[in-house]
């Protein structure tokens, strides 16, 4: 291949570019990113960066030397608007066209929006939200008790705001962590003086506040919505790349179009989108290997892993919880907000979760997929 275009300059895009060079690609490498910033790390945006303890510089995913070593052409602040798979042209929002025989789709996700609310996805979102939260606002309402919502609520509490979290589901994070652990996560809010309203939707957001479907009005100076993201695939409309809740790929990130692979939040590998930091990083090396090989020679099927820091508690999770039949605590207790537990399906470990217990989590995750549940030391 002579030219490879990586569309997306966040974690998945950067790791793809790095993997291309690491795997010996010495042709022309173009990286297109719609944000004007060099690749930065998103997880701190709802935590340390929003709080003000993590500065802009430490968000960088690569230092100057690392970026220079990639010898890539960076098209930042420019959107890819169209992919013509017959001519292999990527059309950019500044009118330029990149002709590439290889394309890595790493365009990520766009937050689902709710009129009258702010989202938190980008660095610019975080800068604006921090200004709003530290600029005299007293009352924050967070719509959605997922990880981003919970982390924003936690940070805003540390900043001294009065915080209410609204969740349409009966239990926060129940679909990801199961009802038992989800309920514990919900209690974290209450532990720290944050109100949690579950099982109620948002009718509208008006100037007076957030109007709930049960008629209650929550007064708010700032409203943040953390209600998930949709894959950024609009620019692929009209191309031959198959899309359906993400770019459809095999287990190696390979799409239906030769020379086109997809990684990260935008990619649906074997029917599943893994919207996790670690997945994006890991998928890149695999997809790039397949791109350079011209066939699926490598696959990635590691279980999804994620972590969340909220209210001074580090939550770590790996695996799949759907269809589990038992949760077994291996260390600590939920009441202490310090524990490690495994999800079992017919006595096989299908997931591991912990709060403030990295030590046991690290050991238990090695038992995923096994029936032998020995007590870790």
């Amino acid at each position: 291949m002579r030219t490879i275009a990586v569309i997306g300059a966040s974690l998945a895009g950067l790791r793809s570019a790095e993997a291309l060079r690491a795997q010996g690609f010495d042709g022309r490498l173009v990286v297109v990113g719609d944000e004007p910033h060099e690749p930065y790390d998103r997880p701190p945006l709802s935590k340390g960066f929003l709080l003000g303890t993590t500065d802009r510089e430490s968000l960088a995913l690569a230092d100057a030397d690392g970026l220079a070593a990639l010898d890539a052409e960076w098209r930042l602040g420019v959107r890819a608007e169209r992919l013509d798979t017959s001519t292999r042209e990527v059309h950019l929002s500044d009118g330029a066209t990149v002709v590439a025989d290889g394309v890595v789709i790493a365009t990520g996700g766009a937050p689902r929006t709710l009129p009258g609310t702010r989202a938190l996805r980008t660095l610019d979102d975080a800068v604006e939200l921090r200004a709003a939260l530290t600029g005299g606002a007293e009352r924050l309402v967070v719509v959605g008790a997922g990880f981003i919502g919970a982390e924003v609520a936690s940070t805003a509490r540390l900043l001294g705001l009065d915080v209410t979290v609204v969740e349409v589901l009966p239990i926060p994070l129940g679909r990801i962590l199961g009802p038992e652990i989800g309920a514990v996560c919900g209690e974290l809010h209450l532990d720290h003086g944050v109100r949690l309203r579950c099982g109620v939707g948002v009718e509208e957001v008006s100037t007076s506040g957030v109007v709930l479907t049960d008629g209650e009005v929550l007064p708010a100076d700032v409203v943040v919505a953390g209600v998930g993201a949709r894959p950024e695939t609009d620019w692929l409309a009209g191309s031959d790349v198959a899309v359906g809740n993400g770019v459809l790929c095999d287990q190696g990130g390979v799409t239906n179009v030769p020379g086109v692979v997809a990684v990260g939040d935008v990619a649906r590998w074997s029917g599943q989108r893994h919207e996790h930091w670690t997945s994006a990083a890991e998928q890149a090396a695999v997809a790039v290997r397949n791109l350079l090989a011209g066939a699926t020679v490598d696959t990635h099927d590691k279980p999804g892993y994620f972590w969340s820091d909220q209210y001074g508690v580090r939550i770590q999770f790996i695996g799949e919880t759907h269809l589990y039949d038992e949760i077994r605590y291996v260390d600590g207790s939920a009441q202490d907000r310090k524990f490690a537990a495994v999800y079992l399906r017919e006595d096989v470990v299908v997931g591991v979760v912990s709060m403030n217990d990295a030590r046991h989590f690290t050991r238990l995750r090695r038992q995923l997929g096994t029936a032998a549940l020995s007590t870790p030391n």
Binding site: R15, E18, D63, G66, W277, T278, A281, W307, Q316, A358, R359, F361, T362, R363, R366, N377
Partner: protein
């Protein structure tokens, strides 16, 4: 020199965290004792909580592994090494010499 613990308190496969100028993790890797900065150079996580395999420790947050002999990471996401410190055993007590820091 900072006193860490007795030799008996640090059996093979275990780690102990002590607070010096920075937190330091002391490992017993199959009988060999090693001391490195406890905080992962990538993101805030305690290496003493990590997974010890041979003379490598895997960070419990993002799974970068560090070579306890040199402090060097094996790959992303960590790029910078952790500092290493000499470990001294005297009268069955483990000490770390924080005056000597090595950065690979």
């Amino acid at each position: 020199m900072i006193r860490v613990c007795t030799v008996l308190d640090l059996p093979p496969g275990e780690a102990v965290r002590v607070v010096a100028h920075v937190p330091i993790a002391v490992f017993n890797a199959d009988g060999e004792l090693y001391a490195v900065d406890d905080t992962c150079t990538h993101q805030d996580a305690s290496l003493a909580d990590g997974w010890l395999e041979g003379c490598w420790v895997e960070c419990p947050l993002h799974a970068s592994s560090f070579d306890l002999r040199t402090g060097l990471p094996n790959g992303l996401p960590a790029k910078r090494p952790v500092r290493t410190y000499p470990v001294v055993v005297r009268d069955d007590v483990v000490y770390v010499d924080t005056a000597v820091q090595d950065v690979a």
